[in-house]
């Protein structure tokens, strides 16, 4: 029996109708074989639009439906639901994308209309070959994995744990806290960072629903929405967490002193160490590469002094497989490496420091006890702060790092307050867009900070005048005055931008999510789904999605938590049934397909001598289908017939 196909062409207001002659597309569709009805409508996704389809299914007995409108990534679920509500299997519906990949790409109406016809024709031909499919429902595991224990991950973890759900919080450093723990004050309110962060860290450490896995990372992530398995590598701390009381005696007695990462190398730590006193968990780790026992085979002082016998040099790294229903990535950012911009002399000229180094200087428990000092131990009397280092720069990162203007002004304030120095800010534009930010800018202006509008061209120690001798000279075009200025100073602070973490590629691969052009994780929709990803059940929050300040990161952490909770509370999820299947009658058992499946979903049935697909493991990529030399493997909703029908229709 011939199919009865209904075709619905959406105007999308003027989004489609402006370039595509919808009437002409409807006329064309009406003339296609088996098309019972073709209509156009202002907004197909609206209730009346959907009603139109439902009515036709019921009254005209449509057996197939094609909607020509926006991208299926946008509204496919909407129309599938509508079709299903009218009693037709949702897979008997096909969407023709005549907006994103047609009306919006050209101004040539004639060609756009031709293209729309081609797209609709292909969908009509394809839908004929589509088959009804059953959607599988699977229960959702209520546990949530959170990767990254900075302020974003902390916020998300507490939100979820407080709702009574189990959270696994994975942090690769020995402690949670992230960058925020290194900051002195926070803009624009100048709260002490530690004062507002530490209580939250403690809550995480004590929460009965949070299992904190510090000094650990995720090495594998498999499964599907609601039922993931995360493989966690737990690096050896050589300190048994259950036994350690955090007394700190081991650290005190350790004879090895090395530069502290937490202090940007400006201060020292021991080979057995906690990054900072408020670390959570409050358990030290042994730095294998620096420990005398591990490098030279002698010492074990820490073990001798530990009152609880917690030191265990035999500890090995272990792996744990965690079952979770959803995951939130809050892996944060890296700071731009200032030594890449050679003209500012970072690493070459003393007293050129980064903003984070300034934070450590300024921090009361930092290497200088909160004093801002030059290399020679004196206080600077002139300080220049250079904005946009590595940001808004086509040679490095084109994007704005969003936080540097504000933290630069915070640094100006701290520098002025602590040293009385004259402070210069070299900026391109000042971006003070948040709540209370503009007011903060005004306050800094009133503190007589000198703002010079112009990106610094270079920092040099080649003096041209006697006043410049022995100083660092910042050269910049003052674009308001239209002249090149040379400002001699004692200290230069480089306001470095935010970058994707170096392991972003690896993490994206492990979690099968995409990255945007700037390298950060890609959200599902920049406005409407900012913490979702294209992979269901995997969420992103904070600066791993793009540069963010603390208020925005916290907001996203909470948002991702709400998204994950919403998924978990659904209790079950539906799975796309677009998996591969093997026709036993055609399979000759050649085993071409078996090694191709990345999920080991294909096995060989020795008794029947044919290959078999495990539905639960198959993710529906279709690679085996393309490789099967007998045409014995098919992919539901992407069968050869369906794809060939599309090809034929397009080429006709």
């Amino acid at each position: 029996m011939a199919e009865k196909i209904g075709v619905y062409v959406c105007h999308c207001g003027t989004n489609i109708a402006q370039t595509v002659d919808c009437k002409s597309v409807v006329d064309y569709a009406s003339g296609l074989p088996n098309v019972t009805v073709a209509r156009e409508y202002q907004y197909m996704c609206s209730d009346p639009g959907q009603e139109l389809i439902k009515k036709d299914i019921k009254e005209l007995g449509l057996t197939r439906v094609v909607v020509a409108s926006c991208s299926p990534l946008m509204h496919e679920p909407t129309f599938r639901r509508a079709v299903e509500e009218a009693g037709l299997n949702q897979f008997l519906f096909q969407m023709a994308n005549i907006r994103e990949q047609c009306s919006w790409i050209t101004e040539n109406k004639e060609m756009a209309t031709e293209r729309a016809k081609s797209i609709v024709g292909a969908a009509v031909k394809r839908v004929e070959f589509q088959e009804p499919l059953d959607v599988k429902k699977v229960p959702v595991n209520p546990n949530v994995l959170i990767v990254g224990g900075g302020i974003t991950g902390i916020e998300a973890a507490l939100q979820i744990a407080d709702s009574g759900k189990k959270v696994y919080l994975v942090e690769k450093e020995p402690t949670i806290g992230g960058y925020m723990a290194q900051f002195d004050k926070t803009f624009p309110t100048l709260d002490c960072a530690a004062c507002i962060l530490t209580p939250k860290m403690v809550s995480v450490g004590q929460h009965p629903n949070i299992e904190l896995l510090s000094y650990s990372d995720v090495t594998g992530f498999s499964g599907y929405v609601g039922n993931f398995t995360a493989r966690i590598r737990r690096r050896a701390k050589y300190v048994e967490e259950e036994k350690c009381s955090g007394c700190g005696l081991c650290t005190e007695k350790c004879p090895v002193s090395v530069p502290s990462e937490f202090d940007c190398g400006l201060g020292k730590r021991k080979a057995i160490y906690r990054p900072f006193p408020q670390a959570v968990p409050n358990v030290p780790v042994i730095d294998r590469d620096r420990c005398l026992y591990f490098t030279k085979g002698v010492c074990k002082v820490c073990q001798k002094f530990c009152p609880r016998g917690a030191i265990n040099f035999e500890q090995k790294e272990t792996y744990a497989d965690l079952q979770v229903g959803a995951a939130i990535l809050a892996t944060g950012f890296d700071l731009f490496d200032a030594s890449k911009v050679k003209q500012y002399g970072y690493g070459r000229l003393p007293n050129v420091i980064t903003s984070l180094e300034f934070e450590r200087f300024s921090h009361a428990s930092g290497p200088t006890g909160g004093k801002i000092l030059l290399k020679n131990g004196q206080m600077p009397s002139n300080i220049a702060i250079l904005h946009c280092i590595g940001s808004r720069d086509t040679n490095f990162n084109e994007y704005c790092s969003r936080v540097c203007c504000m933290y630069s002004m915070k640094i100006a304030h701290l520098a002025h307050e602590k040293t009385g120095a004259r402070v210069y800010e070299f900026y391109i534009d000042l971006r003070a867009f948040g709540k209370g930010y503009e007011e903060f800018y005004k306050r800094i202006l009133e503190e007589e900070t000198i703002f010079i509008r112009g990106k610094a061209a270079e920092v040099t120690d080649v003096a041209q005048t006697s006043a410049e001798r022995g100083k660092l000279i910042v050269v910049a075009e003052d674009t308001l005055l239209g002249i090149v200025r040379r400002i001699p100073v004692d200290m230069v602070v480089l306001s470095v931008g935010l970058e994707p973490r170096k392991d972003t590629t690896e993490i994206a691969r492990i979690f099968s999510i995409s990255r945007s052009q700037d390298g950060f994780f890609l959200e599902r929709h920049p406005k409407l789904a900012p913490v979702s990803t294209a992979s269901d059940g995997i969420f992103i929050a904070g600066a791993c999605q793009g540069p963010k300040d603390i208020p925005d990161s916290v907001a996203q952490g909470a948002a991702a938590a709400a998204n994950a909770l919403s998924l978990i509370d659904r209790k079950e999820v539906t799975l796309e049934p677009t998996v591969a299947f093997i026709d036993e009658k055609s399979c000759s058992g050649c085993k071409i397909c078996i090694g191709l499946c990345p999920y080991n979903a294909i096995s060989f049935d020795e008794s029947k001598e044919v290959s078999v697909v495990n539905d639960a493991l198959c993710k529906g990529c279709g690679t085996c289908v393309a490789a099967c030399p007998s045409g014995a493997i098919g992919q539901r909703n992407f069968t050869d017939d369906q794809l060939l029908a599309e090809v034929e229709a397009i080429c006709a």
């Binding site: 009658k585 055609s586 399979c587 000759s588 058992g589 050649c590 085993k591 090694g595 030399p629 007998s630």
Partner: protein, 318 residues
């Protein structure tokens, strides 16, 4: 009731299909008792005019082997179609173009140049190449036209059944004959005398990991006779080729070259085998992959050795 009448004809082919008929041996004698052969130029002295004189549909079954490469081939295909109730494309050439269809990788002009001017044994100082018409003093002489593109039988006339193989193996030929004699024929358009699964189904070799590191040509290795040839880097068309031959080539430690054509439901045998083979190249690195790919020296000749004419593209661009 009189015996059914049969015709056997040989178009562009090597004659192997005729030999396959003779290979029936004493069975042929039995068959000849049940069937009257009315036309078989290779074995019996009939003229085309005899066939032309026969009433339409007076032959019960014609076995047509060979591809269509000349106007004579085409003429005879049309003639036998007209005179026969059942027309069977017999052998790889009639079914898929066979070896002659590899001519489709080049052109008539290039073939003539090569054959009549360039081959080392050619002595043709005047550079004469065949002309369909030539004037001699006795009058005009004609020879059949040589086509630029080789076609299969069903690209020329309507065909009822297909018997693949280069040549079809003996038992299968006998089975086909018996089917025809019995009159119990499958639906029109069927491939007969072959299996419905790929050759791997009947191949005894052990199939391994399918990790192809390097393509080996048959002269470069003496393959292990127990293991699948693909696992040893030798391109075997078996996975993409219809079975039914009993994997005889494999028994001789040679790879399947694909003469039985694609597995049912497969549109293009060559593209399918290419995909099956290349998908299993054992490298994730683009340069290494390229290196392995270079090992496929003559893709068309490898993947479409017997089926270029019935493939999707049919021929190389002129």
């Amino acid at each position: 009731m009189s015996n059914p009448k049969a015709a056997i004809y040989w178009a562009s082919s090597c004659g192997g299909c005729e030999i396959a008929m003779l290979e029936l041996g004493m069975n042929l004698v039995d068959i000849s008792k049940k069937v009257d052969i009315v036309f078989w130029p290779a074995a019996l002295d009939f003229k085309y005019s005899d066939v032309e004189a026969m009433p339409n549909k007076s032959i019960d079954v014609s076995f047509f082997n060979g591809a269509i490469q000349t106007s004579e081939n085409e003429h005879m295909a049309k003639l036998l179609r007209e005179k026969s109730k059942i027309l069977i494309a017999f052998g790889a050439c009639a079914y898929g173009g066979g070896i002659p269809a590899l001519a489709n990788t080049t052109s008539r002009e290039q073939i003539f140049t090569r054959v009549y001017k360039e081959t080392p044994t050619t002595d043709n100082p005047d550079g004469i190449i065949p002309q369909t018409k030539s004037q001699v003093k006795e009058g005009e002489l004609t020879i059949p036209e040589f086509y630029n593109t080789v076609r299969t039988l069903n690209q020329t006339v309507d065909v009822d059944y297909y018997v693949p193989g280069c040549p079809p193996v003996g038992e299968q030929v006998l089975a086909v004959m018996n089917t025809v004699v019995s009159g119990k024929l499958p639906p029109k358009g069927s491939v007969i005398g072959a299996s419905d699964k790929s050759l791997c189904d009947e191949c005894k070799r052990v199939k391994g990991e399918r990790k192809i590191k390097k393509i080996m040509r048959t002269y470069q290795v003496l393959p292990d006779t127990e293991k699948c040839l693909l696992d040893q880097g030798v391109i075997c068309m078996g996975p993409a080729t219809r079975g039914g031959c009993g994997a005889q080539c494999l028994d001789a430690n040679m790879p399947c070259r694909g003469c039985y054509g694609p597995v049912p439901g497969v549109l293009d045998q060559g593209a399918k085998m290419l995909s099956a083979l290349a998908s299993n190249f054992d490298s994730e690195n683009e340069e290494e992959i390229q290196k392995i790919a270079e090992g496929v020296v003559d893709p068309i000749g490898t993947f479409y050795r017997y089926g270029l004419a019935r493939s999707l593209l049919r021929r190389a661009k002129a």
